[in-house]
């Protein structure tokens, strides 16, 4: 039988997500275990991503697994013209599980079809990055005690933001309310609004980063507004300082509010927010490790 892989957040249903989050809680309480002793995990990073790679590799190391792989396509055989299929076939001879990041969209789905061992998609171009979604959801669950009926305000690049799109999909099982705050050019695409409508999810759209959208939120999810996304640079100049969070903007926010960000952050969260207890983006990044431990063990069928 084909092994189950994690390619797209939609591969996981509500129960799968709940199971992963429960395991991540166990790993957070005790991340140093022997569960992967005698196992080899391959981390194939055809495109460099230090943060994600270190998170996966630390997750494996803390479970006493061994790691093989590469951190850059320049050091892989793909520079010699080897097909992805052949690389995956070869590596799956050696490893029990493959973590892969690739610049081409759909590469992880294809890898999962040709691989006899599970594949974890650590990002395929601008398509999917499902462990980011799971770590976001774990952080929301951890800080709010539930995933049900929360109000999530998402700010920044809602048009191209892969993390945002997957988060909407992942949270769709849990009756969320969304506030989408974005400049006109980077508004949430129509297909995600249709997705919300189809799943009876309430949402509001804002072009200004108003106190209203902050003060009603349980989670404030910030993302980068990148200059290169704008066709009209005048428009970028107009909005570049609009979607920046300053500490005083959190004064009237709810007590349970937490500020999240998939990182790296540039200017969109001012440094003065960092010391506010509502700032949770660094803990969120740390949660990535526990969530990835949960996903790896789940795909290998290891009881925790």
């Amino acid at each position: 039988m084909k092994p189950k892989s994690l390619v797209n957040i939609s591969d996981y249903g509500k129960e799968d997500i709940q199971r992963i989050l429960k395991s991540a809680t166990v790993f957070k309480a005790n991340p140093n275990r022997d569960l992967l002793q005698g196992r080899v995990v391959a981390t194939l990073f055809f495109e460099p991503s230090t943060r994600t790679r270190l998170s996966f590799e630390t997750a494996v190391n803390r479970l006493r697994g061994r790691i093989v792989g590469f951190s850059d396509a320049a050091t892989s055989s793909s520079t010699k013209g080897e097909s992805l299929k052949d690389t995956i076939k070869m590596v799956s001879n050696y490893a029990d599980l493959i973590v892969m990041r690739h610049h081409l969209e759909g590469s992880a789905r294809y890898a999962s079809e040709v691989s006899p061992v599970p594949i974890i998609n650590a990002g395929d171009g601008s398509n999917q990055h499902p462990t980011q979604t799971l770590l976001d959801m774990f952080t929301i669950y951890e800080t709010q005690g539930t995933l049900e009926n929360l109000t999530i305000t998402i700010v920044g690049d809602l048009k191209y933001g892969r993390a945002v799109h997957s988060l909407i999909q992942g949270l769709s099982y849990f009756s969320p309310t969304f506030n989408f705050v974005a400049p006109e050019e980077l508004r949430i695409p129509e297909k995600y609004k249709l997705f919300c409508d189809k799943n009876s999810i309430q949402y509001k759209e804002y072009t200004d980063f108003s106190p209203e959208s902050i003060n009603c939120a349980d989670i404030l999810y910030m993302t980068r507004v990148q200059k290169e996304r704008f066709t009209d640079l005048m428009e970028y100049e107009k909005v570049k300082n609009v979607y920046i969070l300053h500490n005083e903007m959190l004064n009237d926010s709810k007590n349970n509010l937490k500020v999240l960000h998939p990182l790296p952050r540039v200017k969109e969260i001012n440094q003065d927010v960092d010391d506010n207890p509502k700032a949770y983006y660094f803990q969120q990044a740390k949660n990535g490790m526990f969530t990835r431990q949960a996903v790896i063990c789940d795909l290998l069928g290891l009881p925790i």
Binding site: S83, L104, G106, Y110
Partner: protein
Amino acid sequence: MNYETILSTKKIITRKKSPRGFKGSSRLMGKELQVAALENGTAIDHIPTKELFKVVTLLQLQRLENRITIGNNLKSRKMGAKGIIKVADKFFREDEINRIALVAPNVNLNIIRDYEVAEKKKITLPDEIIEIVKCNNPKCITNNEPMKTRFEVIDKEKVVLQCHYCELKIKKEEIVLK
């Protein structure tokens, strides 16, 4: 290859036997016949003129050695102008013929036996399209690896496909054949 393309409606072709059942492509226009009658095989009628050669590609007719008649810009009371394809002694499998629903979902498909319409068929778009459509995303893995493309048909009525790999949605007018 026996390959006959008739682009003029003025050509008169004598039939071996008078067609009774299949009128679509062999209708007598006064004394003119638009396209030769078929003894046995498949006649695909009412093809939109702009889609005719795409249908030829989708059915991979260039690979067949059967006698093939292709007519285009023929007069049609229903459509104004239409295309017709007749393939002698060929009865397509359902998955072969259903491919053409991508570009011409409303064609008339007639199975001819002994000059008679033995069966009229409707074509339906399959749930999945493998290999024949190209993904429009240059960063899709299917455009960078020696592999088959695969699309799920997510809206059969409007003809919307979604790449199984990069998840790009492609509308009917954006479809590019491989």
